[in-house]
């Protein structure tokens, strides 16, 4: 190799990795509004500039199309603001979103669950909407009472709830009638509930048919405890400080345990994947599900299938579970005022338009929720709307799971103990051991 060739080769070897590095660093900004996410967020000027607000949901393509059809009206009413959808499948949504937030490439608005809000908010990764909310009290007063509580971290409002998920019991009216049972109504009791599942169970043709299909976990049994005047399993929705196994909790757990032992309900390890298919075939008497299942039943269940929905039974007082999904923004958004306008529209007008077409859940914003209830009435299920409204107006709301980051270390204790207790392989004292271990996890996380 002569000197000139050597120089050329050297230059090539140096330039090549540099060029590669530059290529690797380039090409960003396709995500829309955050290409310069590290820069301080300037206040929106009054100039008529074009602002693109990116929006990410985990919804199906069908639902996304309906959302974006509604957003066209928003764009017409708000010239200068365009909304761009970033569709993302629900599968591993949280992992993808966390990666985008860490890389400062998160969209201006993203759909989120309550646990993700608390987690990301605690790390200071979410935009604080307190100022905009303070200036917009009329809008903020439109939400169901209490639903905004778990979207606050300290005095910061780190997101807005969009839809509320409620949980209750879907039942087959014909199977109730055939068994000579009265249909369950709002306010029915646990005595009636366990008696009903007993009469609905059978073993015809060698196939075990349970009267009730569900996998009640400690959070679910906590409803029994609270309704009977006992302590809740976890003492707070957003940030539990301890878990408790009260005598009433044991009483509730024992009743479920007896139902499993006697074949009135499925064992804790039962595969519930196909329960709704069986429900549509008219083979399931009662099953515990989220209200969103109704949308599929309304659209695809056989016309002759008569079904109803009822809230959880009570011992003495009403206690319910519901959780919220909603909208958040990363702390680094560039145009907060434009984003706030989109957020308001999503929670109010968008849901009011979309939910009647796809009645999946009541909106956290009351006027939009009424559109959902109207849609259920039109579909011939006013009882469903009444039951959900009853759940949402409950004065006692319990958590559905641990929302905090230490949940990952706490859940294995439940998984290791709960199925054994419910299946009769371990005695009730194991529940206290389980609670002690979870409380140690909570203490060590402080």
């Amino acid at each position: 190799m002569n000197r000139r060739t050597y120089k050329n080769v050297t230059a090539f070897m140096v330039i090549l990795p540099m060029a590669g590095a530059l290529v690797g660093c380039g090409g960003s900004g396709s995500g829309g509004g955050n290409s310069n996410a590290n820069a301080p967020a300037p206040a929106d000027s009054g100039k008529a500039q074009s602002v693109e607000v990116t929006l990410m949901t985990w919804e199906s393509a069908e639902m996304n199309n309906k959302i974006m059809a509604s957003m066209q009206k928003f764009e017409q009413d708000n010239p200068g603001i365009t909304v761009k959808l970033i569709p993302t499948p629900l599968d591993n949504y949280g992992v993808k979103l966390n990666g985008m937030i860490a890389a400062k490439k998160a969209p201006d608005i993203f759909m989120t669950g309550n646990d993700m809000v608390l987690d990301n908010g605690a790390q200071g990764l979410l935009y604080d909407w307190s100022q905009q909310a303070g200036n917009d009290q009329t809008f903020m007063n439109g939400f169901y009472p209490g639903v905004l509580d778990s979207w606050h971290i300290g005095d910061k409002l780190v997101g807005l709830p969009g839809l509320l998920n409620t949980y209750g019991i879907f039942y087959n009216k014909k199977l109730f009638k055939d068994a000579g049972l009265a249909e369950p109504k709002i306010g029915w009791t646990y005595d009636e509930f366990f008696a009903d599942m007993q009469k609905l169970s059978s073993k015809k043709g060698g196939v075990q048919q349970y009267g009730y299909y569900a996998a009640p976990d400690p959070f679910n049994v906590s409803l029994y405890s609270v309704s009977a005047g006992g302590a809740p399993f976890a003492d707070s929705i957003s940030n539990p400080t301890k878990v408790t196994i009260s005598p009433q909790f044991i009483e509730g757990a024992d009743r479920y345990k007896d139902a499993v032992k006697n074949g009135y309900m499925n064992p804790p390890t039962y595969d519930l994947t196909n329960v709704m298919s069986s429900f549509k075939e008219g083979k399931v008497g009662m099953t515990y599900q989220g209200q969103w299942v109704a949308d599929d039943l309304i659209r695809t269940a056989p016309k002759d299938l008569e079904w109803g929905f009822v809230p959880q039974p009570v011992v003495q007082s009403q206690a319910e579970i519901y959780d919220a999904v909603g909208w958040c923004s990363p702390a680094s958004i560039q145009h907060p005022d434009a984003v706030w306008k989109v957020l308001k529209y999503l929670d109010s007008s968008m849901y009011a338009e979309v939910l009647p077409q796809t009645p999946v859940a009541p909106a956290a914003y009351k006027t939009s929720a009424s559109a959902y209830f109207d849609a259920l009435k039109t579909a011939g299920h006013p009882d469903l709307g009444e039951a959900i409204d009853h759940i949402l107006n409950s004065k006692n709301i319990q958590p559905i799971r641990f929302l905090t980051t230490w949940g990952g270390k706490a859940y294995p204790f439940i998984t290791a103990t709960w199925p054994n207790v419910m299946g009769g392989k371990a005695d009730d004292s194991q529940l206290n051991t389980m609670a002690d271990k979870i409380n140690k996890v909570i203490q060590s996380a402080k």
Binding site: Q208, P268, P412
Partner: protein, 301 residues
């Protein structure tokens, strides 16, 4: 005496280093850095996207003394390896011996047995979900038709892991093909000599075929052990680690802790434990391989 560095020698060294620079950069960025950083993260409490907090060996202490899912996971993993590796080897070899004949249409049979390997595992596993469905699944329907009681399959701690192993055997075609290639490489004259001596078939299998394919057997054993320790899809699709951790193989637990439990630092510590287990198993297998592996070029067995 140290050789004097001439400008020509220095230029030669520089040229040499420049030529290996891409490899060094590639190794550093894609191997050394991830390896070293994972060692660091294993010693931290880290949710994956927040700032890691150094905790020393606390993750390992928690893993071995507190985590209620760790030892069941280790048990399930070893149980899975001990069940799936030998059964896959035996079945693969059995099929290969059966299909190592010149019969009309034998290629069709080879294709049929290999076919499940071509189908994406997720599709196959989803199909098995329907087969194992307790009330209306094919498996229990067949048992009922035979007048037998229902199987618990994936819903019982006793049967869930064997059921997963059974699914794995459905994809034994890949190993079968490798065995088949090994069998076809056995010199024909050995079989002819055995035939002339009037050796029965089982003796031929035991004293000619098996010794001649021991290198293939050894390769399959090593790959099988590593693959079984890293099994994931089966658990993710069929059981999600349940019931009661009975199918929570360590590789699945690592994923679950990291992405569902948001315990990234902790799960990286578990990765190192899995790495050590695989390393020990592989080294022990290598150490004792000369006792059963026969190489034609090597006369000392």
């Amino acid at each position: 005496m140290e050789q004097k560095r001439t400008p020509k020698m220095v230029r030669t060294w520089i040229k040499g280093y420049l030529f290996i620079l891409p490899s060094i950069v590639g190794f550093s960025v894609f191997v050394a850095y991830p390896l070293l950083s994972s060692m660091y993260y294993a010693l931290t409490e880290w949710g994956g996207y927040d700032r890691p907090r150094f905790v020393g060996f606390a993750n390992f202490k928690y893993m071995f003394t507190v985590d209620p899912a760790f030892w069941p996971s280790i048990r399930a993993t070893f149980y899975f390896v001990l069940m799936s590796v030998p059964s896959s080897l035996v079945l693969g070899l059995f099929l290969a011996v059966l299909l190592n004949r010149s019969l009309p249409g034998i290629k069709w049979f080879r294709t049929i047995f290999y076919l499940p390997t071509v189908v994406p595992s997720i599709a196959t596993l989803t199909l098995w979900l329907f087969i194992y469905q307790p009330q209306y699944g094919l498996a229990n329907s067949v048992l009922r038709a035979l007048g037998l009681p229902d199987g618990t399959w994936l819903t019982s701690e006793m049967t869930a892991l064997p059921s997963i192993v059974l699914v794995g055997l459905w994809q034994v075609g890949a190993g079968m093909i490798i065995f088949l290639s090994g069998l076809q490489a056995v010199p024909k004259d050995m079989y002819e000599a055995a035939d002339v001596d009037g050796a029965p078939r089982w003796r031929i299998l035991l004293h000619i075929t098996l010794p001649m394919i021991t290198p293939i057997l050894f390769l399959q054993l090593i790959l099988g052990i590593i693959g079984a320790f890293q099994a994931f899809n089966q658990v993710q699709v069929l059981t999600g680690g349940g019931p009661n951790f009975s199918t929570s193989l360590l590789n699945f637990k690592i994923y679950d802790d990291a992405f569902n439990g948001k315990l990234f630092g902790y799960s990286i510590a578990e990765v190192w434990v899995l790495f050590c287990i695989i390393m020990i198993f592989t080294l022990v297998t290598y150490r004792y391989s000369n006792r059963f592996v026969y190489y034609e070029s090597d006369n000392s067995r």
